[in-house]
């Protein structure tokens, strides 16, 4: 079982382990290879907002490759057998990331992303999270605008994030490529992938339309609220 970490947001993505032999190492079994975790819905569940074809490539090829490549990189090394979160933080290496980081962080980011969405998602948060959004952004509409802007202005590949600190204060951030606010000691509660592979099949260059659809139709606010509560534990 993966160790559960202070980063509460990761509690949903422990993944499963299996041991398997490392090619070329005689009679040695690795501690465990981390597995590709499936989204919590079938690949066509997010239609028509995010196509099945997108999920087949995005999860089935991109996310899978990050998992496979990470496992190859860590096999037989001290990172072998560690939890995904430990691997991400260790490979970040204080801002001078090792080659493992891009793969490990992308494994984490993508699972976090799938779990941020659901069929018939969108709408609006309620309760304490809704209050915090109104307090920290002025209104839900202003939050949506700011989150969309973060996604639109992350030049090249990357992610936009909603984070919560221990006091419940919310902030929006964006990051390039595989970088995640986790390595800055922040606790994300929501993310959107703005690598072109996340939206190119569905809307091609129209990233703003993708972001609007994500916000209005896909966000699983129940999960975000759970993460928000966990962030303050």
């Amino acid at each position: 079982m993966a160790l559960s970490m202070k980063v509460q947001a990761s509690s949903l993505i422990a993944g499963q382990r299996r041991g398997r032999p490392v090619p070329g190492r005689r009679a040695m079994v690795t501690k465990a290879a981390l597995e590709l975790k499936a989204p919590p819905y079938p690949l066509d569940a997010l239609e028509p907002h995010m196509s099945k074809q997108t999920l087949e490539f995005h999860w089935g090829k991109h996310h899978r490759a990050y998992v496979d490549n990470m496992n190859k990189q860590i096999a037989g090394t001290p990172l072998d057998g560690k939890s995904l979160e430990e691997i991400v933080l260790a490979s970040w290496n204080g801002g001078n990331p090792t080659p493992v980081f891009n793969n490990a962080a992308q494994v984490w980011n993508h699972t976090f992303f799938w779990e941020s969405m659901k069929a018939n998602g969108g709408g609006a948060p309620t309760g304490k999270l809704a209050e915090a959004i109104a307090r920290d952004f002025g209104s839900f509409d202003k939050f949506k605008e700011e989150f969309k802007t973060a996604g639109m202005t992350q030049f090249g590949s990357g992610w936009a994030w909603l984070n919560a600190d221990k006091s419940g204060k919310l902030s929006i951030s964006k990051s390039p490529n595989a970088v995640t606010p986790v390595v800055e000691g922040k606790t994300p509660i929501l993310t959107v992938d703005v690598w072109e592979h996340a939206y190119y099949i569905d809307v091609q260059n129209r990233r703003p339309d993708y972001l609007t659809t994500f916000i209005e139709k896909l966000i699983d606010w129940d999960v975000v609220a759970q993460r928000y509560a966990a962030a303050q534990q």
Partner: protein, 218 residues
């Protein structure tokens, strides 16, 4: 005078089947057009920079020639406009292209051992560029050829950037996902391999001659 989107030197479908027509159309009319529009908007506030011209604007990235408040938008969009203008020209009808020749070929062999070895290195740079970016073959200040890759819309003209591998590009490949996703999806190595079929080696030779003469091809 504002920058304009240059026409393609060929039809959208000319590079088929290696680069698909739909990709060329969106890549040219949407992505490249947006860089042109954003560059013009940024330069409207600093009209004296327009007089520099596109090449010198790129060379100014990372130096104090660019005002701080416009530095990033000029880097991203001035880079994007140069890179794509350059890119369309180093591609051509796949039935047109005969491989490197003349002085450029000799320079490739001198630097890499053979054309095939150059391609192997170039492919690695293109496949290994994590996230968005470009792979480049270029002429260094000592006249020799080298290969590098750059992130996002940076290019080797931007010698003011830290970690810059300053070169004059003679060949470049866009590895932003928008350059290949409709046809190749995640299969970037397959796109890279197919792309060699459309390289315009005459233009590469012309670019090499320009670089050796101390000018920057555009």
């Amino acid at each position: 005078m504002a920058f304009e989107l240059p026409p393609l030197p060929y039809e959208y479908g000319t590079l088929e089947p290696h680069v698909d027509s739909m990709t060329m159309q969106i890549h040219h009319t949407k992505h490249h057009q947006a860089y042109v529009n954003n560059l013009n908007a940024a330069l409207d506030k600093f009209p004296e920079l327009k007089d520099l011209g596109l090449v010198d604007i790129n060379k100014a990235v990372g130096t104090d020639k660019l005002p701080t408040e416009a530095a990033t938008v000029i880097r991203n969009n001035g880079g994007g406009h140069y890179n794509h203008t350059f890119f369309w020209k180093v591609m051509t009808n796949p039935s047109n292209t005969n491989g490197p020749s003349g002085a450029a070929k000799e320079a490739i062999e001198a630097a890499f051992g053979s054309v095939d070895e150059m391609k192997t290195k170039f492919n690695a740079a293109a496949a290994g560029r994590f996230g968005s970016g470009w792979a480049w073959l270029g002429v260094k200040s000592d006249g020799s050829l080298a290969i590098t890759s750059t992130p996002n819309q940076d290019n080797p003209l931007m010698s003011g950037l830290p970690d810059a591998a300053a070169m004059v590009p003679i060949l470049g490949l866009d590895v932003w996902e928008h350059a290949y996703y409709l046809k190749y999806q995640n299969r970037r190595p397959e796109y890279i391999a197919a792309w060699w079929n459309v390289v315009n080696w005459e233009q590469v030779s012309a670019n090499y001659e320009a670089a050796k003469a101390g000018t920057v091809p555009l």
